[in-house]
Amino acid sequence: MISAVGLRKAFGDFEAVRGIDVEVRRGEAFGFLGPNGAGKSSTMRMIAAVSPVTSGSLRILGRDPAEDGPAIRARLGVCPQEDTLDTELTVRDNLVVYGRYFGIPRSEVARRADELLEFVQLAERGKAKVESLSGGMKRRLTIARSLINRPDLLLLDEPTTGLDPQARHVLWDRLFRLKQQGVTLVLTTHYMDEAEQLCDRLVVMDKGLIVAEGSPLELIRGHSTREVAELRFGVGEHEALAAKVEDLGERVEVLPDRLLVYSDDGEEVIARVHERGLSPVAVLVRRSTLEDVFLRLTGRTLVD
């Protein structure tokens, strides 16, 4: 579906994407993970065939975006980072008019608009103005809009950023259904749980480069330990105490508010910490997540 080799994007002197190789297969859910400024959105815009490639090769649906932009876009669904809904139109007209941009006949687009409003649970709001919708509803409308042309490939740039947990779960459910229908999903996110929930495969990007690639499980196995012991001490003590627990795990990460000790047996780490006469304010043993992988690979937490 997507094949990129040595893909670069520069804005003047600034290189947002510095040579990445990506291969997305039909029917999979593929994720771009990374902090703000990693080059995810620039990559997505190139894939959406609205941003010219600076260098390297990019094929989308077997075509070159520089030559076949309209033909590619005809088969893409795009859900941009910010909701770019048409605020001058009603909820339903947003879908109808957007569908007409694809050249879908009027009667067909009307049928699909009603179907999609149902699908994203906005059927009762069809005549409402876009401004009257909540953030979650606007996001759902944007997703519905991206599906109006029955895309082969759906691009979602941070689909759930800024939504409350309830709204996120509704969205995930809808995306999961689409995936089951065979739609290829490509999404960017800086939420670990979202990536773990939705993505079959993902790449971690940092400073315009891909630093790791694999399924969520592969990445966790390859770049982290089975468990993590989180130790919380008093404010400002973490840096100094890190040396005292360093030997207890494979490695130790110092965060502003806690120490993370990576080990296959977290309980064992906690016991040894107490043996050494250290008394953390709070402790927690948990399984490794993508967040830990990210910390390992980029040396910082994701949402910074």
Partner: protein
């Protein structure tokens, strides 16, 4: 490529004409709820016609224009006709175009579909023309009703006003792509207001001395006024041909520049 269940195969993308029609439809929908905004743009030149053309016209006996004697109102009316075509086109191509471009991000949405920047530029231009055309049609009706039309050439005044709209809409769109904030729109009134007052709208261009006259004759509104006035009074001259070429060129250049600028602004 193999077919996947539930996934559509590619469709033909909209033609240039269809793309234009869709944007017209979109704009129609957005204005449907606010039709009265349309009305004010129409009434403005009508009020001017009554106030200056008819009111002030009472103080003026009659007028020599291209060798014919006409009433003052008949002199002012085609000027207002051209000015209303300009206003209609400029309103949509500056404020509304800017809002859609920078704030509503309408064109970002549209460009994610098979539509191109040329489709956008053409569609919005067509909309400006349609709006300007409706104003002009109404205004011509008022003129005819008041007996201010004295030639069958006036039938061509409607297409002439569309040309005026085309020229101003194209240029205004191109210039709007360079605007950074709402403050920059002061330049719009700075350009249109003096043109409205001095482009031989209320008095003949012969009132201007030397260089100043030459300057006025080079403005697009003067070219538009001349064209409309010669058509509604039936006193045609080569001036009209010059105007047509001038306005076509202005519109085409504007459209092409607007399209290039949209590429540069949106497809980054």
């Amino acid at each position: 490529m193999a077919t996947v269940p539930g996934v559509a195969q590619p469709r033909p993308t909209p033609s240039a004409l269809a793309a234009t029609r869709i944007l017209l439809y979109r704009n129609y929908l957005s204005y449907r709820a606010a039709w009265y905004i349309f009305l004010t743009g129409f009434l403005e030149p009508v009020f001017y016609l009554f106030s200056i053309g008819v009111g002030v016209g009472r103080l003026i006996d009659s007028f020599e224009f291209n060798g014919e004697t006409i009433g003052y109102a008949a002199f002012v009316a085609p000027g207002m006709l051209a000015a209303s075509a300009m206003n209609g086109a400029v309103l949509d191509s500056t404020f509304n175009f800017f809002f859609k471009l920078k704030f509503e991000k309408l064109y970002d949405q549209i460009l994610a579909t098979p539509m191109s920047t040329l489709d956008v530029a053409r569609g919005e231009l067509a909309w400006s023309l349609l709006r300007g055309g409706i104003y002009s049609f109404g205004f011509l009706g008022v003129m005819a009703g008041m007996g201010l039309v004295s030639s069958w050439w006036a039938v061509l005044a409607l297409p002439a006003t569309l040309l005026v709209g085309f020229a101003f809409a194209g240029a205004a769109m191109a210039l709007t792509t360079y605007m950074r904030s709402w403050q920059d729109f002061e330049y719009v009134s700075l350009a249109t207001m003096p043109m409205f007052l001095f482009s031989a709208t209320f008095f003949p261009v012969t009132a201007f001395p030397g260089v100043l006259r030459w300057l006025v004759e080079a403005t697009p509104l003067y070219r538009s006024v001349v064209l409309c006035r010669e058509l509604t009074t039936g006193a045609l001259s080569w001036d009209s041909a010059v105007s047509v070429v001038y306005l076509v060129a202005m519109g085409v250049v504007g459209l092409l520049v607007a399209r290039r600028r949209l590429d540069a602004l949106l497809l980054t």
